[in-house]
């Protein structure tokens, strides 16, 4: 039986034009937000309460060891234990310079520090469209790699030379990570375009490169870089180990980037190429102005994923004897004074990586939002 209401709804027409009213209370504002997100229904409310309890337990139990009972200053592990029962962060304080610079000569440590600070000036204009005087600053970004090379290596402008074997710690991570990221993106783009090229030779070379680099573990490539390369090079040539590592890491990550970008390129409808051609754009113009910007935009999550992977994989250089933060940590653990503090040391290194990677992740989310132009 049809309810009474549907009778009167039949043939209903609006007789006056109705004004727009504010939404009912509890559907907007703070209360609305809480309701929508935390207490939408029974399951949602239970999950919220469960999460809050879990977080509280976690924080309250961890804060003791991490903060309240922790020791910030002491001369050795023994002293730490005498003072309190928590984490012995003193070891970090004692070793912080090594963690940062490895065995870079103490008198010259201002050089990597300057490079580090200038890094932000160099990547700022690349990452942020609203950077002050962006166009001029991009010139600085372009010369930054050379500037860093000269500053770190020395041997010019009266700077005493420093061997790359002394590089270490976070400085080494940043050198390998940032160089790898900056160099593998353009190389990856070229490989992705090469893989789609109409020219068979270009296509074959790109495919071979990508498949080989992807098909081999990075550790193997690093070993090749450290030992086997000598067999292929003319005897007597000096080819810096760090430089070889940089090249291998770049090639390895470029292969992944190429595949990510190829995925993005394949998502671009044929109509985009045709429209670009029909207004007379040539291949490179079409790529640079029409298809690549769209493909890169779709590929951002995958690209950043690869970069984060690369950044963390820089720790693998430990296997060929470079002193990345984990290597420095090991050295600290081997010190009789600090023996057995692996929790503190590895947590500290983990924190460094987490902060860097989380920043990359946030930046990529921000970039995706900024580039979103589909408002359908």
């Amino acid at each position: 039986m049809a309810p009474q209401r549907s009778q009167s709804a039949r043939g209903y027409v609006a007789k006056v034009s109705l004004p727009a009213l504010p939404p009912p209370i509890g559907t907007s504002g703070l209360i609305g937000w809480l309701r929508q997100n935390l207490f939408y229904n029974l399951t949602n409310s239970l999950m919220t309460i469960f999460t809050v309890v879990l977080l509280w337990l976690l924080v309250s139990s961890a804060s003791g060891w991490f903060v309240i009972d922790a020791v910030m200053q002491a001369g050795s592990k023994q002293e730490c234990l005498k003072i309190d029962s928590g984490a012995c962060w003193a070891v970090i304080g004692k070793r912080i310079e090594q963690f940062m610079f490895g065995f870079y000569p103490e008198a010259e440590r201002w050089r990597p520090l300057v490079c580090f600070l200038l890094l932000f000036v160099a990547i700022g204009p690349l990452l942020l469209p609203s950077f002050p005087a962006r166009r001029q600053m991009l010139w600085f970004s372009a010369i930054y790699p050379v500037l860093t090379g000269v500053l770190l290596l020395g041997g010019a402008f009266g700077l005493p030379p420093v061997k790359t074997a002394l590089f270490g710690g976070f400085m080494l991570t940043l050198i390998v990570g940032v160089t790898g990221i900056a160099a593998s993106l353009p190389l990856g783009i070229l490989l992705a375009l090469g893989r789609q090229s109409k020219l068979l030779a270009v296509r074959t070379l790109s495919v071979m490169f990508i498949e080989f680099m992807r098909g081999v573990p990075l550790i193997t490539l690093l070993f090749v870089a450290s030992t086997m390369l000598n067999y292929f090079l003319p005897p007597g040539t000096h080819f810096d180990l760090l430089l070889r590592v940089l090249i291998m890491v770049t090639f390895f990550s470029a292969a992944y980037i190429a595949e990510v970008i190829r995925g993005g390129l394949q998502a671009i409808p044929a109509g985009q190429y045709e429209a670009a051609q029909s207004i007379g754009l040539n291949y490179w113009q079409t790529t640079r102005l029409v298809t690549l910007p769209q493909a890169l935009k779709i590929s951002i999550p995958g690209i950043v994923n690869t970069f984060i992977g690369l950044y963390k994989d820089t720790t693998l250089v430990i296997v060929i004897g470079l002193l990345d933060p984990l290597g420095i940590g090991r050295a600290a653990l081997a010190d009789a004074n600090w023996n057995g503090l692996s929790n503190e040391i590895y947590l500290f290194v983990a924190l460094f990586f987490f902060v860097s990677c989380f920043a990359m992740s946030r930046y990529s989310l921000w970039l995706e939002k900024r580039l979103a132009t589909e408002h359908r």
């Binding site: 409808p269 109509g271 985009q272 045709e274 429209a275 670009a276 051609q277 029909s278 207004i279 007379g280 754009l281 040539n282 113009q285 102005l289 029409v290 910007p293 769209q294 935009k297 580039l371 132009t373 589909e374 408002h375 359908r376």
Partner: protein, 282 residues
Amino acid sequence: MTPPSASKRTARKTAARSKAKNGVKEKTAPKRSGKAGNMSVIKIGQMNKWYGDFHVLRDINLEVYEGERIVICGPSGSGKSTLIRCINRLEVHHKGCIIVNNTELTSDLKNLETIRKNVGMVFQSFNLFPHLTVLENCTLGPIWVHKMPQAEAEALAMEYLERVRIPEQAGKYPGQLSGGQQQRVAIARSLCMKPNIMLFDEPTSALDPEMIKEVLDTMIELAETGMTMLVVTHEMGFANKVADRVIFMDEGQIVEQNEPEAFFNNPQSDRTKSFLSQILGH
């Protein structure tokens, strides 16, 4: 401020007209409006094309005069899109010749460049660049192909956006516009290249009925400026009103062509008759 290409073309047009007056070329194409010139801008002879083993275009012969408006119709899959896409070489033909603006279409990239500069194309699915604003969509060609300064290109783009009646949308992204508006932007984008030939591939087929009219009106206005137009469409009202010639294609061949009145009222071939009865029948 007239861009150099425009003035050059005006000069060429005048030259063409005087040439025609001197009777260098015989007028053979039917024309209705009297606007069509006598210079042939597209000449297709014995043209054939295959997709793999599939013989999609068979012995196409077609000559289009300056200012002519040609409507191409025919059943789906008959090769209409392929034919007009061959004219700006989005598709490559395999036999015969295609001459556009006195330049033969070959694999020579220089020729291709000049032809693409002078032949505009509007697609069924608009194909606007979604990452660029409406204005940027329109200035891309002039800036990068004609090397026009940005300010000049923007002024030009605004002129054409006004012509298609959407100057107020210049700052928006294509995704924020309706289908009809997007198609009018696509027309403006093509016109910004100052082409002398415009190709349309079912420009209204992806549109809701109320938007079809706004796009057709834009095209009618364009026709009134004397633009040479080849339009693949099933909008027979448009054909009747604007076309100098209607071409009917079936199975990769031009089966029939005539002035619109004769074409609609007195179709010759059986295939044309059955096609017309299908699209006009209801």
